[in-house]
């Protein structure tokens, strides 16, 4: 019996994937685990591996086709084994299910009765897809996930996302047994990977009544994330001096950018202001004890936010090296899902594009993002005289359900002081 090759959900939010390239051709022998195709998800280009050993019998879709998650893209089986499926497909970007496609094309095996469209192959779905067939996003961006109250509670306790569990109850309701049998989804979908750190990784704070009211009222007022903006104008003169001195001393061991200093200062400020290093979780707020910085990186056809793990525990040079590596691989679309999920706060820097000032869009469930503009010489009053100083404007977008005005302002003041007194960063 042939095994289906299906479009797998290779990112937490993936609903469809584009089959970029077949790595194996029809007739090739493949072993379980071999890469058979490259798939572009909404975030990155990923590898699709064989879930069975045998011969690649059929490529149902051609390179370039976009296929919904869980749809069949090919078959693996015994050489010569007959499968009832189309021999090839148009490379068109078409989302129609395979069966429907087969019907359209009328490629039915000789002698088969009309109307039997399903390929005569093993009914079992390849392992690994079942648990990820999404019925929606548990956090509620899509349709509501049906789950029993108990199942919701259990899933939350186990750190499982409801959207990653297939419900077996009426109308797909997720019930206790579904949660119990659910594969533990890699931590990446729920948060950053566990590491050597001791103590609790975060603290879930129940919503106070006033917090609930603030969340409800503000969300009514402005989209799902009631955002407000705080801007600070930072004197970067001393940061620039410090950077120059550092780079002198580093020589060819590396170069520190303004962005690296920003990352360091941001991570340190977040440690002091845990209220801003938080996730909105619909029925509670998660205050992170760890700082994972998302760093927006422009890529040819979009944007991705790789994550610097434990940014608060890393020195400037490490941060610098890591940031550069992540950015490079992001542009090459070679990031793994763990590398672009689980940030606790994000930063977007468009200074290199000469942007003076802008606002960034919050990356939920995070509660804030910092938008950083260019550093430019600006007439500044110092001791009663007008002198040119290098200055930078940064704007923090805040989710008002989590961060109130004064909270955000306090955080921004700390950040500003750190940038204006960069020596403090080494303390």
């Amino acid at each position: 019996m042939a095994t289906k090759i299906v479009m797998e959900a290779l990112s937490p939010t993936m609903e469809e994937g584009r089959l970029v390239e077949w790595k194996r051709q029809e007739g090739d022998t493949v072993a379980e685990g071999d890469v058979i195709a490259e798939v572009e998800t909404d975030k990155a280009v990923m590898e699709l591996v064989a879930r069975a050993s045998g011969t690649l019998l059929r490529q149902v879709v051609a390179a370039g086709a976009t296929v919904p998650v869980a749809e069949v893209v090919g078959y693996i089986g015994e050489p010569g084994e007959t499968i009832d499926a189309p021999t090839s497909t148009k490379p068109a970007k078409e989302k129609a299910p395979v069966a429907a496609k087969a019907k359209e094309e009328g490629k039915v095996k000789e002698g088969e009765e009309e109307g039997e469209q399903e390929p005569e192959i093993e009914e079992e779905e390849p392992e690994g897809t079942k648990a990820t067939v999404s019925t929606g996003d548990a956090t509620g961006t899509g349709g509501r996930v049906k789950a029993s109250p108990l199942a919701r509670k259990m899933a939350a306790e186990r750190g499982l996302t409801l959207g990653s569990i297939t419900g077996s109850g009426p109308e797909g309701r997720i019930v206790k047994r579904d949660v119990e049998s659910a594969r533990v989804v890699p931590e990446t979908t729920a948060g950053p990977p566990a590491d050597a750190g001791s103590g609790p990784r975060f603290e879930d704070q129940p919503l106070s009544q006033i917090r609930k009211t603030i969340a409800r009222r503000l969300a009514q007022s402005i989209g799902p994330i009631p955002t407000f903006y705080l801007t600070a104008d930072v004197d970067m003169e001393r940061a620039a001096e410090a950077r120059a001195a550092l780079n002198d001393s580093l020589g060819d061991r590396g170069r520190i950018s303004f962005n690296d200093i920003l990352l360091k200062a941001l991570a340190s400020a977040l440690v002091q202001h845990p209220a801003c290093n938080a996730w909105w979780q619909d029925d509670h707020i998660r205050l992170w004890h760890e700082v994972h910085l998302g760093m927006a990186v422009a890529i040819p056809d979009g944007l991705i936010t790789p994550v610097i793990r434990h940014a608060d525990r890393k020195g400037l040079l490490t941060l610098s090296t890591e940031a550069r590596d992540l950015a490079t691989r992001a542009r090459a679309r070679k990031l793994t899902p763990e590398e672009y999920t689980g940030s606790t706060f994000s930063i977007s820097n468009l200074g290199m594009f000469d942007i003076e000032h802008f606002t960034a869009i919050i990356n939920p469930p995070e509660a804030g993002i910092l938008a950083v503009g260019r550093i430019a010489a600006t007439p500044t009053v110092v001791d009663g005289a007008i002198v040119p100083r290098r200055r930078m404007r940064m704007t923090m977008s805040c989710d008002h359900r989590v961060i109130d005005g004064a909270t955000g302002a306090g955080f921004l003041r700390t950040l500003t002081r750190m940038l204006e007194n960069p020596l403090a960063l080494v303390l």
Binding site: S148, P149, L150, A151, S168, G169, P170, V175, K176, R177
Partner: protein, 326 residues
């Protein structure tokens, strides 16, 4: 332990309490010379005399009110209603007088009285003689509503009811009078307001009372054949409802089916469901289902009657539904 019928267990409770406390007396239609329409009071006239075992005319409102008045004056009457169907004639004295007396007197006057008699459906007695009224009384603050399912509970609960300082509506199962069971030999009281697990299980809770307990137990037997362990929780007292026992059981099983003989609308089960959804929301893996009598006057024809009554098959089906097995 002695094996005795539900009827004899009730008789023993009456006898023991009348012997213990001279303020306890029994009043009702045919309770004395006839030895009781259902023979619950058999032998009591002979033992305690006509002053304490009092036959009344057919005048439910009158003798129920007389009982309430006697309780207000400090006696502990047991008022037998030949069946609870006839209590509709007396409900003003139960609801407007007995239940309210303590409150509207600011705590000065209490009504330690038991209204007792058979309720629920019987066999082919048709519409006016086969009814379950517990939800009517359970609705009234000030009343305690007790519905024993076994001989042991019948005795222990009736003794507690007689000793209670509150008015107690004690509804016996008309179909249970001949049911036999073990009854402890030594004196005992079964506390009011405490439910009992009649069978333990981990998969689904069957909440029941009175005759529906035997229906639930049969259903549990059938479920066990399919490896489903049903817990049978006998409420025993409808008000005060043993909320802790219900929630504790649902915490174990995550699923519940509430079984009662009465009609569905605003029934006892509705109250149990309300409790579970309100205080046990996160315990639930499935909506709580109810199994009730059909919402029709009880038909006479025995096939129609069977269709109107609850049965183990209906409970099994509901249990499977909350287990997502159907």
């Amino acid at each position: 332990m002695a094996i005795m019928t539900y009827r004899d267990a009730l008789n023993q409770a009456l006898r023991e309490e009348m012997a213990r406390d001279p303020d306890v007396f029994l009043m009702g239609e045919e309770v004395a010379e006839y030895d009781g329409a259902y023979k619950v009071s058999r032998g009591l006239l002979k033992e305690f005399g006509p002053e304490r075992v009092v036959d009344t005319p057919i005048a439910e409102l009158g003798f129920t009110g007389i009982g309430v008045g006697a309780a207000m004056a400090g006696l502990r009457p047991v008022i037998e209603l030949m069946t609870w169907n006839f209590a509709l004639l007396a409900i003003d004295e139960i609801v407007n007088s007995a239940a309210k007396m303590r409150y509207m007197s600011g705590g000065q006057v209490q009504c330690p009285i038991v209204f007792r008699g058979p309720g629920g459906s019987a066999l082919q007695l048709a519409a006016q003689h086969s009814q379950a009224f517990e939800s009517w009384y359970a609705h009234i603050p000030g009343l305690v509503v007790v519905m024993p399912a076994t001989p042991a509970d019948a005795k222990g609960l009736l003794k507690s009811a007689i000793r209670s300082d509150d008015p107690v509506v004690f509804i016996e199962g008309e179909m249970l009078y001949n049911q036999k069971g073990e009854v402890p030999d030594e004196e005992y009281l079964t506390p009011l307001g405490v439910a009992e697990i009649k069978r333990s299980g981990t998969d689904v809770t069957l909440v029941c009372h009175s005759k529906s307990v035997s229906v639930a137990l049969k259903a549990a037997d059938q479920l066990a054949e399919e490896d489903i362990a049903a817990e049978v929780l006998d409420l025993r007292t409808i008000t005060p409802l043993d909320r802790e026992a219900i929630l504790a059981s649902v915490a174990r099983t995550n699923r519940a089916v509430v079984v009662e003989e009465g009609w569905s609308f605003a029934g006892v089960g509705a109250q149990v469901v309300d409790l579970i959804q309100r205080e046990g929301f996160d315990l639930l893996d499935a909506p709580v289902l109810r199994v009730t009598g059909a919402d029709v006057p009880m038909p006479y024809n025995k096939f129609l009657e069977r269709a109107a009554k609850i049965d183990p098959a209906g409970v099994v089906a509901a249990a499977k539904q909350v287990l997502y097995l159907s």
